[in-house]
């Protein structure tokens, strides 16, 4: 039990004016870089880490947490407004956010994204503050076998996203997995499918693939659709009373179950090192889609359903706090963002790990205070930012989309460090355009591509551990439980869901 004086001293440090200004600066930078496709909060944190050397330890971590939290909401802004996710974890936000924007309800969609993001983030921060130690112990029980079973569970959610054609959905997943095999194979370390490009030893990078397929493909589609008319990129409703500009309390409250589920998924996956916010966002979206279908929601997912935005944003934002659970309790970074926080702590001469609470209690409770403060600042700056972004997208689409394409080129160049990454982005833009035009699910492709390397690695490790004998799985009850969940999820989302869809179509 922590000493109350230490807790109060830490929270007092966090609430100082100087610390507040660092949090504000971090959130502002995060929201901006999150909104620019390709840059994202992780790159901003990586650039900022060396500069934190001159700050106090608390100010440094507060600033970085502000960047991380602001960036996760920032990614939703272009996803909603121009169907161009600023970060891969906001890809599912675009699925329902952009249709709402096209209906003239962009402010409603952005506010839902903001409120769901803050809700999920606050939930995971509360979990971090209260039960981080036991959760970290559970996360530590996840060995390679259990992680493999978790990957199978994550793949099973694809069954809920394949769309009208199961064959096309499976082909998209196979293609995504195939692209994920480019680079060194995990068991033998030999290069595969790199066509002589040594830069591909690490595989196809996620950012160019995701931005190419989701953002650039959409930019091409929107540019190709411009035929002489000079429209704004997004129609923004005028006046506070306009329906599209307001998100009512009733609308927010109606999404409470979806947000709770998303926050729980994000928190659990965030506590497990290496899974990440993109997987949490898609998992939450798929489960919310099925849950709303079961309740016969009149608004379909993909047509502008607020639950789709709430599910994605609550899940991806709740990963931030949960990522710190293994970091603060065990010294294991749960993500690249958490690894950057570790490097900032080590620059300051602080060693993360089990003794951190004992030796740096005041700093840790200061960090908790700063995280809660960052949530309020994120909320406040998000509201202010909506007016700024509304002005940006009020420009004609013939101006917005060529500019967005340029931002994608620069963002991907910065994230990969060479033009090969930009070339990969353009190739996958063509692939994404062709897949969308012929009815193959780009989202399924991205999920399979994202999970692919981890899936192959954990499959290889699992087969080695169990020596190829399936009965050895009996020694891994957590893994078996996860496999049972995967079978249930595939049945619930796939077989039963499709049966329900057919029944609903028959009724129409």
């Amino acid at each position: 039990m922590p000493d109350i004086a230490t807790v109060l001293a830490g929270v007092g440090d966090a609430l100082s004016l100087a610390n507040l200004l660092w949090v504000v600066a971090g959130v502002a930078v995060g929201q901006f870089v999150g909104a620019v496709p390709g840059i994202g909060p992780i790159m901003a944190m990586a650039i900022a880490v060396p500069f934190t050397f001159v700050m106090s330890p608390l100010a440094a971590i507060s600033f970085l947490m502000g960047v991380n939290k602001g960036g996760l909401f920032g990614g939703a802004i272009p996803a909603v407004l121009i169907n161009t996710p600023g970060t891969p974890d906001a890809a599912a936000t675009a699925l329902d956010g952009h249709p709402l924007a096209r209906q003239g309800k962009a402010p409603k969609a952005l506010k839902m994204a903001l409120y769901a993001s803050i809700t999920g983030d606050t939930f995971s921060d509360m979990v971090l503050i209260t039960v981080s130690a036991p959760l970290a112990a559970v996360a530590l029980m996840m060995g390679p076998v259990e992680v493999f079973c978790l990957m199978v569970l994550a793949f099973s959610v694809i069954a809920g996203l394949v769309g009208d054609s199961l064959v096309k959905g499976l082909a998209a997943a196979a293609l995504g997995l195939l692209c994920a095999t480019v680079g060194l194979d995990p068991e033998h370390g030999t290069p595969r499918l790199i066509f002589g490009q040594f830069a591909l030893y690490d595989g196809l990078p996620l950012a160019p693939v995701a931005i190419g397929m989701l953002a650039v493909a959409e930019i091409l589609r929107r540019l190709a659709a411009i035929r002489g008319t000079r429209r704004a990129a997004v129609h923004m409703p005028r006046g506070r009373g306009a329906d599209g500009g307001r998100l009512t309390w009733a609308e927010y409250w109606a999404c409470r179950g979806t947000m709770a589920r998303g926050a729980a998924i994000g928190t659990v996956l965030g506590a497990i090192p290496g899974i990440g916010s993109t997987a949490a966002a898609f998992l939450s979206y798929a489960s919310a889609r099925q849950a709303r279908k079961a309740r016969r929601d009149p608004v379909e997912f993909g047509a502008g359903n607020l639950h789709g935005i709430a599910a994605t944003e609550s899940a991806n934002s709740s990963v931030v706090g949960a990522n710190l659970i293994p970091l603060l309790t065990l010294g294991i970074p749960g993500s690249i963002g958490a690894a950057l926080v570790i490097s900032a702590l080590m620059i300051q001469g602080i060693q993360p790990g089990p003794l951190l609470f004992e030796q740096q209690g005041r700093l840790i409770y200061g960090l908790f205070g700063a995280m809660m403060m960052a949530n309020f600042v994120n909320f406040w700056m998000g509201q202010l930012g909506l007016r700024f972004w509304a002005r940006v997208v009020a420009a004609p689409e013939s101006v917005v989309f060529p500019s967005a394409l340029l931002l994608c080129v620069v963002g991907v160049y910065m994230s990969t460090g060479d033009l090969l990454g930009v070339a990969v982005m353009l190739v996958f833009a063509g692939v994404g355009y062709a897949m969308t035009a012929t009815g193959y699910s780009v989202v399924v492709f991205i999920i399979a591509f994202f999970l692919g390397p981890r899936f192959e690695l954990s499959l290889s490790q699992t087969l080695t551990i169990i020596d190829g004998k399936p009965l050895e799985m009996l020694d891994h009850p957590v893994g078996l439980a996860l496999l049972a969940c995967a079978v249930a999820a595939a049945y619930w989302m796939g077989v039963r869901g499709r049966r329900r869809e057919r029944a609903a179509e028959g009724e129409k």
């Binding site: 095999t181 194979d185 068991e187 033998h188 595969r192 013939s398 080129v409 192959e456």
Partner: protein
């Protein structure tokens, strides 16, 4: 022949080319271990062949991609051709950026795209071709100290 049948055959052909030509040439042969370098790519290529053939066989006459999902019906073949043209212009611009530099090519790239989609208003062309690349250069090179393509 329907679009679904054509795409099914294309997917099957892609899987076939991978199985016959690409994977044997681009994946090293290893004779030990549970998951060998070629295991997953080979399985996935075979799956693509099977799924492509199933799709081609099951395709209904007259069935096409859903225009609401951005299918080919959304703007027709003309929109596909325009998108291909814009992608080619972007690729040319990126290639030129690597040789001439971002500062010179970015305004030309944006201007070319704007002219191609029919934008002719001078103030908007100035905003997109001068202000946007200028702000990017200021933020990336001056504030962040990072290089831009060709820089």
């Amino acid at each position: 022949m329907t679009l679904d049948r054509v795409t099914g055959l294309l997917v099957a052909a892609l899987g076939g080319v991978l199985l016959v030509a690409v994977i044997p040439d681009q994946v090293e042969t290893v004779d030990y271990g549970w998951v060998r370098p070629g295991t997953l790519p080979t399985v996935l290529a075979a799956v693509l062949v099977a799924l492509g053939l199933v799709q081609a066989a099951l395709a209904r006459r007259g069935a096409a991609a859903d225009p609401d999902d951005g299918g080919v019906g959304d703007g027709g073949i003309g929109a596909v051709a325009r998108a291909a043209l814009y992608l080619a212009v972007a690729a040319l611009g990126v290639w030129a950026m690597g040789r001439i530099g971002f500062v010179w090519v970015a305004p030309a790239l944006v201007l070319a795209l704007m002219l191609l989609v029919g934008e002719r208003r001078p103030h908007w062309m100035a905003v997109a071709a001068i202000v946007v690349p200028g702000v990017i250069w200021l933020v990336v090179e001056v504030l962040l100290g990072r290089t831009l393509p060709g820089g």
